[in-house]
């Protein structure tokens, strides 16, 4: 019985591990419908004052009659109000999928107990708060030149910003609304007065934007209300929102080559959305080799090396969503073929004859001595 329990635990553990692994590497993409929404509520969307929403506004599955309170004076441009219609329903379904996918991504840094206004400049990663998160003042996100850099903030309960707080981008590669910046909020998000916020807020319950708070991105609430008060919510500059999965470039190593001998090795990208483009992003291929023969997910490092030595380079694969993965290689190229010496026999014919003769003579003497 004990043995059975242990076996069961092992099987369940392995299953959990497998499930966890596949979730961790699943691509998280805001669906094509929810991407068009700047504001989406679960119960109501209510507005006070002259809010300007750039993108669709919607409610689902909230009641139709209460849904559109405050529009006007609120203004919707670049979209319409979807009051519990099929589009809003579809968007809510996609929001749930994205919320769960983001929730499944493992943390890289735990910021629990810290104010986001004091953590300094953050680089791409998955930042977690066990319970609530607070932003007081500016928070700077360094995209390191890649507009597709992934920032995920996973917050166990509430997200609150103080008056005048802001999210600031640096090295954003020209992006004002990075597609992979997510705020996954376990209950409700409240942005303080005049807060300047960036990113996609995916809240389980409600989202409240206090007076004159602005969001470049999306405010998407699954079950509760979105409450607006003279705000700006603009998703028009946001690229298609994608959470980049881990893209693997394999194999991990490439074999060596020889000057003058044809060389061909296939490099494969996986984990993202085909098709992939491949580039040497640092170092250089050995002279004579190049990237060629690309398919949707492979490319060949092929050619005939012309120079011996050790060559280091990195191949980066970029998938259809702009997500990248790379592997660094060191390829040793041996000298030209003329330097390949053919190992001579352990004994050539002369050596063999000498050995035979010596052993025969030694044997005769040894036998005579042995028998005497």
């Amino acid at each position: 019985m004990k043995r059975t329990n242990v076996g069961l635990k092992v099987i369940l553990g392995l299953a959990a591990l497998l499930i966890g692994t596949s979730q961790a590497h699943a691509a998280v993409v805001l669906g094509s419908t929810v991407q068009t929404f700047a504001v989406l509520g679960g119960s109501t969307v209510t507005n006070t004052g002259t809010s300007v929403i750039n993108g669709n506004v919607g409610v689902s599955p909230g009641p139709i009659l209460q849904a559109a309170a405050g529009f006007p004076p609120g203004l919707i441009i670049g979209g319409t109000f979807h009051a519990n219609d099929a589009t809003a329903g579809l968007a809510q379904g996609e929001l749930t999928t994205a919320y769960n996918a983001v929730a499944a991504i493992p943390c890289t840094v735990n910021l629990s107990g810290q104010d986001l206004g004091t953590v300094g400049v953050l680089t791409p990663g998955v930042y977690c708060f066990t319970t609530s998160a607070q932003l007081t003042g500016p928070l700077t996100l360094d995209l390191q030149g890649n507009p597709n850099s992934q920032f995920i903030f996973k917050i166990g309960s509430t997200l609150t910003t103080a008056t005048g707080s802001s999210v600031v981008l640096t090295n954003a590669g020209g992006s004002t609304c990075p597609p992979n910046l997510y705020w996954q909020v376990g209950s409700s998000a409240t942005l303080g007065t005049t807060t300047s916020f960036i990113g996609n807020i995916l809240a389980l319950t409600s989202i409240t934007l206090n007076t004159s708070a602005s969001v470049v991105g999306r405010t998407l609430a699954r079950n509760g209300a979105v409450t607006l008060d003279t705000n700006t919510v603009n998703m028009s500059t946001c690229a298609a929102a994608v959470v980049c999965p881990a893209i693997t470039v394999s194999p991990a190593t490439l074999p060596g080559g020889t000057v003058g001998l044809a060389y061909s090795q296939t490099v494969t990208a996986s984990g993202g959305s085909p098709s992939y483009s491949f580039l040497v992003t640092s170092g250089a291929l050995p002279p004579g080799l190049s990237l060629s023969g690309a398919t949707a997910s492979t490319i060949n490092v092929a050619g005939t090396p012309t120079t011996g030595g050790s060559f280091s380079f990195t191949i980066t694969a970029t998938d259809a969503n702009g997500c990248t993965g790379s592997t660094s290689y060191v390829v040793a190229v041996a000298g030209p073929l003329a330097a390949v010496a053919v190992g001579g026999p352990t004994l050539d014919s002369y050596g063999l004859a000498v050995l035979l003769m010596l052993l025969a003579v030694a044997g005769v003497f040894a036998v005579n001595r042995f028998n005497s």
């Binding site: 020889t258 041996a334 330097a339 001579g344 026999p345 352990t346 000498v354 050995l355």
Partner: protein
Amino acid sequence: MGMASSRKPGLVFVARFFLALIVFYVVAALGPVNDHVIVPFTELVVRGTAFLLRSAHQSIDVAGTVIRTPHFALDVRNGCNGVEAMMVLAAATLAFPATFRSRLAGLLAGCVAIQILNLVRVASLVWLGEHHRQFFDFVHVGVWQSIVILAAVAMFIVWSRTFAEKPLATPS
């Protein structure tokens, strides 16, 4: 007459020696033996050499039977595997009028010793090719061949003098 009889055991040894050698060569020349024994054994020699060189922190790469270093490559072919030297020593050991058990022990010990020597030979040749190319041919043809010949003869003499056991005399 007395002189002729004292030479007889020696002649018997020589006859057995060459007979055993002929048998070994014929067997080794058979296609299936070559394909399934000699060739894999040669690859084993390549891998053993690679292990020795890597243990000595020599940067190498193995492709088939070619061992590559950054500036040199050695193709280890069938004759480089020490099998021929092993067969000659084995033939002499088997031809010797000792007990079967001591001949078998001598044969095994001799073969292992020749193979260890050959691994060191190939590894040293690769190392020389990489670091002192000018000595490669001399050491390859002259030095190592002499070492293998002398070692084989010495092993045989030591074995026949020290370890070979006489068969029990048959009662007349």
